[in-house]
Symmetry: T
């Protein structure tokens, strides 16, 4: 099983963000944790601060991977472009958020992009990623 | 590890609900799936259609279980009482929804009760429960 | 033909409510009026102040009655749980309100629960119930 | 007993509208159904696409009929003029809608004109008219 | 003078709630403080987590007590059912809140149920109850 | 114990306002009632129609009184200036309203200034003042 | 000086409307009062219940009259068509309302059509018309 | 007949304001125009920039004048205090605005204070004052 | 090919409207421009200021023309009746606006009626009509 | 005549999007259709998923092309940056949308960027592009 | 160069306000800092808690000073009167706020009064004043 | 002292924008003015039309500069990504806007990104930049 894990803006600096919201790990730590937890799954990490690059990467994922995990970061709340790219992409998709968006600022409480995923997971810090991969495996095995 | 899995209104009739939103299983099927997937975890299922009974059960859970999973059903969107009960309960908590609330009716798009959980998982049908238990185990092991 | 007539909170005290809004009769008077007007229909009255009990009763009605009339009282405006229970219940359903909700307080002007009924009737006091039974008979005869 | 049944815009084309919302009958079919169901009531049907003509007809009804049924069609949601005409008209009045306005587009969910009727009935297709006449008879007999 | 003091959801767990909002006492401590402060008044405490039970208790209070104090907890902000029950109950009524709802979360800043009480008191922790009883005595003596 | 009781616009004309909202007494009557009820407390009444004078008086109160009661009248709903003055003033503070603001016009239903008081009391007419003084004594004795 | 006085829906029935809002006179009484008060001004009264007829009459007025008074009735609050017709009409224009729209229902508190008049007068019952003619004379004499 | 004409903030500088909105005259010019137009009426002009002083002046007017005209300036849109003072004042009252508030900034389109006047006049520049006095005379003569 | 071009209120006066919004031509000029540009298409122009007449004309168009162009003028923003008439009419339909509604007043920025057309064109002045006919030909040729 | 046709996010994948909304063609098909339909016009297609690249391309277009057509895709609804770039660009501009945005999701119903174009065309699928080029030619020939 | 620096409510008590929002200095400290930093500029400080006095002072400033700095305090968010006074005052004007209003309570996030200043500066504590004077000098020198 | 001055979309074209909003200078003119005014400060100008590039540049600034000035252009009003990047960056930060955003279109009146800066300056055209640098120096010297 090959998964792509697409990460949006500021996640390349994860280790410098508020620890009570985002946890204690860098994005690369999370990559390693995932690889240890799911040794049989091939995970490819991608990160970009550019909304349009995330759109393009989602387009490309459709042809290459079995499943897609996306943490759109701040674009989750406003990006019609990513929403539409996800609608185009027919593989199983799960959105993840490190922080619990239901209890953050008003502008972060709704996710537009999750509308076009199978489901989404929010608030479990690095475990959101673990749970995302776990769920994706289950979704695919069910297919 | 002992978990309680609290289920709100209409989940006792799950097998009769819209399959494209809620999946193909009854609540009791889900209980069995969980037990097979996590044989070492003791899971206790509770279901009530009464908001106040869910409040009381959350109060009681605090003293007896290692973790709590709640699917508040339709009360997720309006219940200050369940929100406040969850705030009182200090064990790890994960909210789960079978359907993807971000793409349903307006009155279902926000969850009030998830503000008082560690995190929440939405849209993966019965896999939301699997992923909830998986996550709770990880949260607790990290403690 | 067997109908269940489910009544929500405060309708057990109907005779004590504002007469210009709710009319001059108790719920039991209405039961008698219905029985006299529709002698061939068996009507069963149920009343509860508990949202969850109304949910449960709707679940049970599905298997036993030919049609359902509901006056959800104050729960009409906010209860996702009753809305979802009605969605589960496949027999013909009509919602009735004694008062004309379109000219009352803002918080009473929309009914959430009526979305899941065939139709609804508001403002005709005890005649709303008569008209509800009359309509349900017509709906069923058409089937 | 003499009733006037006033019908707003597009109801002259009823047989061409969406059948799942409006049912299978033309306005003239409904007229015939009513006459058969209520042979002792004289019903006069009036239809106009013009808001102002509906206002004028309501003015005239006051002097000639025992009761008024109105289906204001699309004007129900915005017409202060019809609202005010109904306020002027002192005979018993019932508003009817073929479709269940509580589950249609946002702009159709509130009725302004029903505020000035005794009550309203929505969603029962042609049975809304039957139930409207039935209710009006009961209202008048009570007087 | 006989007063009933009706308490809503989570107040049975008061001693476990946030102390800066709700103060240092359990509901039973408050009962004792009231009895000491007002030895001539008979106070009956009732607590339930169930909205419908609070409705029923308000119905019953009308016939038995000289005054009613209610802390509807989280139901204050949404419950049309309790609002309507209070409207039915003709004895003097005062609503009390331990925390100052004007400076809490948006969903707690308005009280729907207080519309049907003589007045309401908010933010003085256990003193809200003392002040509620004190006020009720004054209201009744004025009668 | 020395309390200042600050009264906002139109309270100098209290005896001419709507009696069903504001009761039967003038502000000076209320002063006398308070003095009789609480003979050991020194109460100083201040009234001004000027928002800025109320701000200044709150500043001065900080240094001279043990507690402050404010009825900001119409300024309660909009005055950031009084809100900020109360934030500056560190003695115990209770806001009082003669009428029950939760059931008046929309523009009167929220109080901005009460956010910076310990608590507030609304709707008990002159008893709101009595209850305000009673509460303030209790708050101070607890300190 | 020749003025046209255009009257919208329901004003042909003025004598039957709520007297506390609309005063004691019929539209024809008002015409007579105006003629007696302003004997040197030629006033032409026009009334229609049809929005489109009011639009057409405004078009025609441009070429024939020195000034225009309009009481758009219920169309004042929603009619873009009348708003645009008034924008086309270059003679002095005053809008009048018999009732004080600032204290009526929400849907009547804003006037869209007055944006395209020199000014508007509201709440003085038949005196609104007198004051409208008086003002128009003054506006024209200033020109 | 003795009228008081109360003017709010910035009207002492009227001659310096935008001429297309407020016309070409100072407040004192308007006073002279009124005196020439209505030689038999005694008009007293009062102006203050202080909200509270306007409140006080309205209180005093009740006892001394036959009618009151108020241009509350910028306070019209927000002042609950002036609204309440006008409610206290039982003589005939007309609110006037020089500019047409229905076509200005959003924050100026509603007037709160006019709710407590007999009526209001907006947009006719200095003629709003003339028309205000003219109307007040008519209102009083009717009494 | 036979097209009907239905024009709403104030378009009979087009030559008198604001030229920067609506261009330099009368409706009859536009008719001539269309005929010259599309000599093979038979275009029938219809204009009415009456909402209900536009509804009726749309009904009639269904049976007689190959395509329909509508400029509903001010009714575009509020008319449920025209919206519903267009839904009934099964020939290809294009809505046109002379001015760019996306940059005009708030009340003009949304079009309700265009929801029931194939598409709409806004802001190109008389070219909106040319482009409408051009598009309709292309739509039909594709069929 | 030289036109640039700027296309926003996801339009490079047009052939994979929902056919009932976007039609049956790829962006490159549309390019060919345009070239065949308008052989005398030189059209240059540009597509990017990056908001900032669209901004830059609009800047460059100003100096090189006679007209600009833009389909901003999902950026139409939120991008102040593209809005401002279009304001800077002084050649004729037309915005096009393949789908009818007036009947899609709420977040797609308003276009911010069209405010800075001459006009816009929505809902005609590939014909929106044809109609855009057709319109632009007409606009330019008029100049 | 002569500047007036007008300060609104509660700024006379600046040293007692929240230091993390407002900094460590009293208003008089700020006056001294300014004088030391800009020895060639004559700065006059004015402070009042009265909205109307601030209006009057702005009127007077127009004739006497070269530039005006205003910190309207809590009046910035609601005062139409100060907004209109600033519109009257034709010298260069800069509004300053000690705290960063974009991250404070909702009711403080918009400034109404800054609309009528050249610009505004927020969040730099006492440096907002320094920067205000610095900017005003630059604005004037440019003139 | 080394400052980075980050400029968002369309600022590379500043000399072509509306002069009454943005002033008379290009971005490079502003760079020169700053260097002349603050010869001891090293200022580095960066401009990009790409939201994600601005995010990346803010990340990099943290390690290299003593202070940061940002003019996010149109991204100020919607970009959660830039908001979060600024939160990550721990050096002193000031946001500047050339135009006075408090008096521009609704969509420009709030700045999201300024929440994560020390403060912001708006409306002083090129002087906003001067004042930004001046303020930053003062902020740093205070440290």
């Amino acid at each position: 099983m090959k998964f792509i894990i697409i990460n949006g803006p500021n996640l390349n600096m994860l280790e410098d963000r508020e620890k009570d919201q985002y946890g204690n790990f860098s994005l690369w730590d999370i990559e390693n944790i995932l690889k240890k937890e799911f040794p049989k799954v091939s995970v490819t990490f991608y990160q970009s601060n550019l909304e349009g690059d995330l759109v393009t990467k989602i387009h490309e994922a459709n042809k290459v991977y079995d499943g897609l995990i996306i943490n759109p970061g701040g674009y989750a709340h406003t990006s019609v472009a990513i929403h539409d790219a996800l609608a185009l992409c027919k593989i199983p998709k799960v959105e993840v958020h490190l922080s619990n968006i239901s209890r953050r600022e008003d502008f972060r409480q709704k996710t537009l992009t999750a509308k076009q995923c199978n489901g989404y997971i929010s608030g479990l810090k690095e475990i959101s990623y673990l749970s995302g991969v776990y769920s994706l495996i289950k979704v695919i095995e069910n297919y």
